[in-house]
C-alpha cells in the first residue's frame, strides 16, 4: 500500500539496526517508552525488540484508549444500555472491555441491550435519524486522534436538530498521561523504571502537533521523538533518541514529518475546543485518577451529554486483584512478571487493561509468542 510499504522495507530496517548497534555506547542501557498502543503492536508484529541491540529496551506505555478505559466507565455504559433502553453505539474495540465479574458490552448485548458496533460517529447520527423515537448514545472513546470526529458529530447533531442523539465521552489527553508517568519515574531511588526517552505519539500528534511535548521535554529533561507507526519509523526514531542521549541533548524531534507538523491540525483543535472541555480528573485503568486528563462536553452542548441527560454516576470499581497492569503500564514490569498472564488472563478472557485490546502489551506478548521466548 502506498506510503506504508516504503516504511516496511526490510533492507533499510536491517541497515538501521546495524547503525544502532554501531552507535549505542557499550557501557550503558537505553530505556525508551513508546506511548502508543500502535507502536507497541508494531514493535511486536515486526519483531523490532529482537532486531535492535540488547542494550535498548522498549517499555510499553499506556497509550491504548481501549485498555485504559476503567471498569467504572464500562459499568456506566452497561447501565445506560440495559436500564435506559437506549441504542448504544460504539467502536468495535470497546465491546470486550471487562467490567466487574466479567461483564462487558458483549454480555450486556447478549442480555438484550441494544448495543451496536459502528465504524464512525456518522453511522451513529444516521441511526439517530432513522430512529427518532429512540434515544441514541455514542459511547465515545479515544485520544486526540479520535476526539475531532466526535466533536463534529455533536456539532452536526446540533445543526440538524437531531435531539435524540447524545455522547458519553471518555476522550483522553496524552500529554497529561506522559507527564503523570514521568512524575512517577524516579530512577535515582531505583524503585521505578528509568525512562531515558519517549517515542512520541503518531496520529495523536497529527492533530495536536509536536509542540505540546516541548514542555514535557523541558520539565522532565527527557528527549521525545514523534514517531510514525511503521517499522522504519520506529527504528529511525530509536536512532534519533540514541543520538540525542549520546550527545547529551534533550529536544523534541519529529520523525513523522510526512504527517505531523509543529502546530498540528488547527481546524481540528478549534472544533474540539468548541465542544469539549477538560474534566478536573479522569480515572485510567491501571494508572488511577489523573488530573485534567479527560474531556467532557461544554455547557453549551449539555443536552448532547449523555452523563447529564441520563444522570449517570460513576461508581469506583477496584482493578482485578493480582493484576500487574499498573506496573506494566508504567514500564516497571513485563507481562510475564504477572501471575495472571496466560493463566486466568488471556485475550479471550482479558482481566487486565493490557490484555484487552490487541494494542496492549500483554495481548501483544501473547499474540506474537514472546511469552514462549521468555519462558
Amino acid at each position: 500500500m502506498k506510503w506504508l510499504d516504503d516504511f516496511r522495507d526490510r533492507d533499510r530496517a536491517f541497515a538501521l539496526a546495524n547503525q544502532l548497534a554501531e552507535e549505542v555506547q557499550p557501557d550503558r542501557s537505553y530505556h525508551f517508552m513508546e506511548f502508543c498502543g500502535g507502536h507497541t503492536h508494531a514493535i511486536f508484529r515486526y519483531g523490532l525488540q529482537d532486531l535492535v541491540p540488547q542494550t535498548i529496551r522498549y517499555l510499553h506505555g499506556p497509550g491504548c484508549p481501549v485498555c485504559v478505559l476503567p471498569a467504572s466507565r464500562v459499568e456506566m455504559s452497561i447501565d445506560l444500555a440495559l436500564n435506559h433502553e437506549v441504542i448504544l453505539c460504539t467502536y468495535g474495540d470497546v465491546m470486550r472491555v471487562p467490567s466487574r465479574q466479567n461483564r462487558s458490552l458483549i454480555t450486556a448485548k447478549a442480555a438484550g441491550a441494544d448495543i451496536r458496533m459502528v465504524y464512525s460517529v456518522s453511522d451513529c447520527l444516521r441511526i439517530a435519524r432513522d430512529n427518532p423515537a429512540r434515544e441514541v448514545v455514542f459511547l465515545a472513546i479515544g485520544f486526540e486522534t479520535t476526539t475531532p470526529p466526535s466533536a463534529i458529530g455533536v456539532l452536526q447533531a446540533k445543526q440538524e436538530k437531531i435531539d435524540n442523539f447524545s455522547i458519553l465521552s471518555n476522550h483522553l489527553l496524552t500529554p497529561s498521561a506522559i507527564n503523570h508517568i514521568l512524575d512517577l519515574s524516579s530512577p535515582e531511588d531505583g524503585s521505578t523504571a528509568p525512562i531515558d526517552g519517549f517515542l512520541g505519539p503518531a496520529h495523536v500528534s497529527a492533530i495536536i502537533g509536536s509542540r505540546p511535548y516541548q514542555a514535557i521535554a523541558d520539565e522532565h529533561q527527557r528527549p521525545v521523538v514523534v514517531a510514525g507507526f511503521e517499522p522504519l519509523d520506529i527504528l529511525q526514531s530509536t536512532l534519533m533518541l540514541v543520538r540525542q542521549i549520546n550527545e547529551g541533548r534533550v529536544a523534541v524531534e519529529n520523525q513523522y514529518a510526512r504527517v505531523v507538523t509543529e502546530t498540528g491540525n488547527i481546524q481540528a483543535q478549534n472544533l474540539v475546543n468548541k465542544v469539549f472541555e477538560r474534566r478536573s480528573s479522569f480515572e485510567w485503568r491501571g494508572l488511577g485518577a489523573i488530573a485534567r486528563s479527560g474531556l467532557c462536553l461544554r455547557d453549551d452542548y449539555a443536552s448532547f451529554d449523555a452523563e447529564r441527560r441520563f444522570d449517570l454516576r460513576e461508581h469506583k470499581i477496584n482493578d482485578v486483584k493480582g493484576c500487574k497492569c499498573p506496573n506494566i503500564l508504567r514500564g516497571e514490569m513485563k507481562p510475564t512478571d504477572c501471575k495472571l498472564f496466560g493463566t486466568v488472563c488471556t485475550p479471550d478472557n482479558p482481566r487486565g487493561a493490557c490484555m484487552v485490546s490487541s494494542e496492549g502489551a500483554c495481548a501483544a506478548y501473547w499474540s506474537y509468542g514472546r511469552h514462549m521466548a521468555a519462558a
Partner: protein, 92 residues
Amino acid sequence: MCLAVPAEIIEIDRDANMAVVSLEGVRKQASLALLETASVGDFVLLHVGFALSIISPEEARKTLQMVDEACGPVTRNMPRPEQHKGDGDEVA
C-alpha cells in the same frame, strides 16, 4: 485505536464536504470536515471515516533519504543482523 490508513482522494463533493477515497482500489466515503483544503489525488490519513491530515510526499521522501544518509548506502537482500538476536529482555 489510533490506527489510520493512507487513502487517495478520488472524488470530492464540496457541498457535502465529503470525498470518495480509494484504499488500494477499495472505495469508501470520507468526511473532509477536519481539513482546510484537499484536492483529488492527495493521500490523506483516514480514521473512523474522517480525513485527519494530508500526507506530504515530499516529507516522506526526505524521511527515507534521512534513513539512507544515517546508514550509508542500503544493500539489497541484506542478511538479518546476527548480533542482535538476543531476547532483549535480559536488560532490566
